[in-house]
């Protein structure tokens, strides 16, 4: 279970607060959507969960399975089950996709006390998972995400997620830059990972992703706080009314 308690966050080298007291509980097995206008702090929340050090937590706590993760380095969080699918996945020139995936998968397995995957085991697993996401394994011989289209990058994120077997998945604007077909493939990939053992936080500006990944709860984040929470119908309501009631002009 993810518990976010009175979380206050600012950019490390500035004084301006971004998150001003977030309270949120996401039990295992549930998918929670976080919606909100641009600049409301959605991506900041995603980065803080993953442990990016550009941000400073000034108050509050984040508990994952009852333990605070604030003091943990990003790789330790990943080992404990946290995974962030980036809004803008990074390109790593010179590092082959397969090398990257295998290094990551085995680093996480080591920390979880599991045997490392042998090359044949790893290749079998990658081929299977990549196939489910319509990713050509040959693409993974190229440097990580270099020369990938927007849709390919997002699918590559979901492939990483599938291989690392996280228990807390945070998806930051996974729908941005996707056409309708790619959105379907990515959503199917995410839905395949839904399980009673997994909690998911889906961050999005638009409701359309939530037609594919149907959330158990929807929260509206604006001005650094959760302003409203409700069922999946809240997303539809926002689609009609926009974020105007939260002090934002329609996009």
């Amino acid at each position: 279970m993810l518990e976010i308690k009175n979380l206050h966050v600012k950019i490390a080298e500035e004084d301006k607060p971004i998150l001003k007291g977030i309270d949120l509980v996401v039990p295992k097995g549930e998918v929670h959507a976080i919606m909100g206008p641009n600049g409301s702090g959605k991506s900041t929340l995603a980065y803080v969960l993953a442990g990016r050090d550009d941000y400073e937590v000034t108050d509050g706590d984040i508990l994952w399975n009852g333990e605070s993760i604030l003091e943990m380095a990003p790789d330790e969080r990943a080992a404990s089950g946290v995974f962030l699918a980036f809004q803008y996945p990074m390109e790593i020139p010179g590092v082959a996709g397969l090398t990257f995936l295998r290094t990551a998968a085995n680093a996480v397995r080591r920390k979880r006390g599991k045997e490392e995957l042998t090359t044949p085991e790893f290749m079998k697993l990658v081929k299977q998972k990549a196939g489910e996401l319509n990713i050509d394994v040959d693409m993974l011989k190229r440097p990580v995400n270099v020369g990938f289209s927007g849709g390919e990058k997002k699918r590559s994120e979901i492939l990483q997620m599938a291989l690392l077997e996280p228990t807390l998945c945070v998806l930051d604007e996974t729908d941005s830059g996707l056409d309708i077909d790619a959105l379907k493939v990515v959503s199917d990939g995410v839905n395949a990972l839904r399980s009673p053992e997994r909690a998911m936080v889906v961050i999005t500006h638009y409701q359309r992703l939530l037609n594919h990944i149907v959330p158990d709860k929807v929260h509206v984040l604006a001005h650094g706080r959760i302003q409203r929470s409700g069922g999946k119908e809240l997303a539809l309501e926002l689609e009609k009314s926009g974020y105007a009631e939260f002090g934002e002009k329609a996009a």
């Binding site: 442990g51 990003p74 990943a78 990074m90 010179g94 680093a107 996480v108 920390k111």
Partner: protein, 441 residues
Amino acid sequence: MTVAVMKTKAEQSFAEGFSEVQEKLPGSTAVRAIREEAAQRFAELGLPHRRIEEWKYTDLRNQVKDALPPRSGEKVAMTIADVIVALGPLAHVDAHRVVFVNGSHRPELSSPGGLAGVNIQSLASALETAEGGNAAIAGIASQHSDAVMALNTAYMSDGAVVQVEAGAALDKPLMLVHIRAGKAPCFAAVRNVIEVGAKASARIVEAFVSLPGAAGDGQINTVTQVNVGEEAVVTHVKVAADAGEGVTHLSNWMSRIAKSAEYRGFQLTQGVNLARNQIRIDFDGEDAKLDLSGVFLGRGSDHIDTTLVVDHAVPSCESRELFKGVLDGNARGIFQGKIIVQQAAQKTDGKQMSQALLLSENAEFDSKPELEIFADDVVCGHGATCAELDKDLMFYCQSRGIPAEIAKVLLIESFIGEAVDQIDDEAIGEAVMAFARGWLS
């Protein structure tokens, strides 16, 4: 009018040392005369210092404190197993080895027999004969303006004289192995002379390594002359990967590329406290191609200088340079790249890039690209970058569970990998990468 300058201790020791060992150095009477002339020239010039423009970042007069004695006459007991240990990852490259220890050829440690299509002789024996001596010292007179090269001419004790027959295609690389060994610190001056005939193809590796337990200090002065014949294809790799704390490595490559030939050069420098890698390339014929790249890795007080001059004297040649450095601690990296495009050299295509990754606040990288273009129909460009490890990439890797230390190595490997990839021989490329990986861990 010249102003008398006080000789430094090192300059005096090099001068006195020469008169002590000169009788023992190999060579015919003609060679002896040339040595003396060079020693005289060195005495006049002294060690290069920062007021000489090309040496402004590397002040040898200040940085070389003393001359170590040459010990080419003393034989350090070694076995082939020792050679393999000293070679490290390069031992895995299936090559024909010619081994030198502290500046002396050691046939018993070298690969037996010959290599088809090549004539290999030791420089020491070549210098004794009129013909060999002439080949080995051809062009030396014109090199006397450089004090480091003059020092080499005066002291050169051995090296390889290699002639690849026209049309020959060497089935394995030729590896010239220079090992520093023994408890006594020493100075070694070696010279390799490589002649590759027309339409021949060859891969040549120079390794400057040390045997575990060798003295921490050492001085190497090496000169390699390469003549690439018409339509020949030559890969030339130098690996200077020492383990001493106080090793000075002064190196000169002088390569001439004939018409329609292709020359690919690569240099790795690591574990060397003070390095000056000078490279001089002359295009002798049209439609020739040059690909020059390198990686330098420094930490502590390491100082690694790459200074190259590429002279496009003829039309329609292509030159590429890519040098990458990783600098930690107080290390300093220098890259000076001068590309000359003479008036006749129309249709020249030249590109140069130098990049450094600084791992600490005190590391420094100085880059000085110089383009001297006298022709009007050319494409030439250069660039230089200097950066820290990308924080966003580090976070991305870590968020995938990769610990910071491994992520760092992964990103550094990818950074230098681009230059190592220029080596068009997989086994040699892998060995170079393995050296770098060893340095990183």
